[in-house]
């Protein structure tokens, strides 16, 4: 589904990603772990097409197409979804209205009829249950005055509504208390099928107790230093990230 080859990217002249290789297939869950500032969010944003980052080398192929030249909205309509680490507030725009617009954009892309507000209301009720979100949040303005946890739940609600092929979940666990974490994780698990894939970005192992990754990649300083199965997350928990870099880095360069 997604193939990333030798991806280098910079922002304002600083190289942040220094040669990433990654292969994600349909039905898989990949966890990207790493310390703060290692480039995890950058990787997700670049896949989604954030304009601040410049890809200087390498390629990102999604469903056989080169993503790099594609506008972010086009990527979204083709099934790439990002749950943001810091979801932005949009005053005056109702949450349900945005979700309906977004949903209808995808319907349009597929050549299907848009849903009117009443039809959409029916459609969204199940999705609310999935993340156990209060219906009142639908009428509020997008993320305005939401608690940290509500913002994160709202991101996963949008994922449930939009049913992406590739979901990039950036630190969805941060800001969630333990009950919320369980609910949201279970929601994500229910959305997983053999036809879609998840890239789960986190720097804690905690969420992986609920969502079992097929692969774990350790990203440090813009490079993937180690990849492995779900056991790798537990080892990281035990030994810390230095353990990975000590093994693989010489003079600051990956071996």
């Amino acid at each position: 589904m997604l193939t990333i080859k030798n991806l280098h990217a910079e922002v304002e002249g600083n190289e942040i990603l220094k040669g990433i290789n990654l292969e994600i297939k349909a039905g898989e869950v990949h966890a990207i772990m790493g310390p703060n500032g290692s480039g995890k969010s950058t990787l997700a944003k670049i896949i989604a097409g954030h304009p601040s980052y410049e890809v200087t080398q390498g390629e990102i192929i999604y469903e056989g197409e080169d993503l790099i030249e594609m506008e972010p909205d086009e990527r979204a309509r083709k099934g790439v979804f990002m749950a943001f680490q810091y979801p932005v507030e949009i005053p005056g725009v109702s949450n349900s209205m945005l979700m309906r617009e977004a949903y209808n954009e995808i319907q349009k892309e597929k050549g299907l009829d848009p849903l009117d507000p009443l039809e959409f209301e029916d459609y969204i009720i199940d999705k609310l249950n999935l993340v156990e979100m209060d219906q009142k949040l639908l009428d509020r303005n997008v993320n305005v005055g939401f608690s940290g946890g509500e913002k994160k739940r709202n991101e996963i609600l949008q994922m449930a509504v939009l049913k992406p092929k590739l979901a990039l979940l950036d630190e969805t666990d941060s800001g969630l208390d333990i009950d919320a974490l369980r609910i949201v994780s279970e929601g994500i698990n229910k959305l997983n099928t053999k036809d879609n894939a998840v890239m789960l970005v986190t720097h804690y192992q905690r969420i992986l107790n609920y969502i079992t990754p097929d692969f774990v990649h350790v990203l440090v300083n813009g490079r993937i230093h180690k990849s492995g199965g779900k056991e790798l997350a537990l080892e990281l928990e035990k030994h810390g990230y230095e353990w990975v870099t000590a093994n693989t880095e010489v003079n600051g360069e990956a071996k």
Binding site: P72, V88, I90, V93, E105
Partner: protein, 480 residues
Amino acid sequence: MSDTQTIESLVKQPYKYGFKTNVEYDYFPKGLNEDIVNMISDIKEDPDFMREFRLKAYRHWTTMRDPLWANIKYPRINYDKIQFYSAPKKKPRLDSLDEVDPEILETYEKLGIPLSEQKMLAGVAVDAVFDSVSVATTFKEKLAEAGVVFCSISEAIKNYPDLVKKYMGSVVPYNDNFFAAMNSAVFSDGSFVYVPKGVVSPMELSTYFRINNEESGQFERTLIIAEEDSYVSYLEGCTAPMFSSNQLHAAVVELIALDRAQIKYSTVQNWYSGDEKGVGGIYNFVTKRGLCKGDYSKISWTQVETGSAITWKYPSVIMKGDHSIGEFYSVAVTNDKMEADTGTKMIHLGKNTNSTIISKGIAAGNSQNSYRGLVKISPKAANSRNYSVCDSMLIGDRCGAHTFPYLEAGNNTSSVEHEATTSKIGEDQIFYLQQRGLDEEDAVSLIINGFCKEVFKELPMEFAVEAIKLLGIKLEGSVG
């Protein structure tokens, strides 16, 4: 020679335009002097009180100067170069729409203002002012049945002189300010509304103003009187073609609400604003003021200002009656080299009076957007309240947004609350929406419309739709 000297020398000139009444003027001399004022009075067949009002205003105007305190920069206007009256060639006193010059009708069609019976379905009655003259008022009969008078101010002067005499200048006196004095001297036409006691106007009333002549100014005058327990909603739309020169628009609007009456006045202003280099565009100097004369009366201004090279406009409410309410909802958009200095004055005179100000300024390009607002609570206005919100949004980093709130609190039983924010339309907001599948243009318009929502919801439905479209057009390509 300075402007005042020029004007003085003109004033002293002999009366060389020796016209009498009933002369058809296709062409009208430029500049302003007492003779010009008399000529306008002649054409209008003004009754004496009107002519005197004009002359008094004119004489006062010659002692005044352009106001320079606003946060706008423009070259001094040479009033000698302006044609103070201009009318379509065909005589526009008409009994039905069929008699309107087809070219004018076509212009209105192009503007999307069908003067046809279609508007009836939408419940809107239209008065159209073309350059300086009112060309047609629709649905007179239907309104007349309800007792509502909706006609051009010229007709009102002829048919309802007592009302005009009583109220014109009662809210905006002839000597109020430079532009109001000028308007009082030369106003050519405009709309007149009278809603009798206890009547709720059966439809929304609407006027479209159009400046068509490159060298003319437009000086319309609107007077709306709502008697006790009446209600009226009035919409005003404005457009002008593109010229490389600047046209002057100096209007005066007066609203009077008696006991328990409500007037809702909405404007979508889209005068030509000049090109991106700042060439051309309308200079819009407008005095709009409402008087809540009666107890429990309410006046509400909603404006969407998207055009004009210069906007100088402060729709205000004087809350004289006890328990009266004043409201001001405004969206002002500036782009390219536009400059807007707009806001309101809420003057609390009566007890338990209440005012709300919601101002949303959006600045893009190289433009400057200022909010200027006065809240004045007089010592006698016990237990009064004001709530103000002034939000500014910047698009790009070459524009400016400014707020100038003034407060005069004259007693200690009243309360005033003021909130102001300035935000920049963020790359991250746009990216977030694009990530949800909206293209950049839709993303920007969603953010802007969200920002303006509290104001748009005050507009009648079809105006809100028009306003949203206009904002999209105005800001196209200014982000990113």
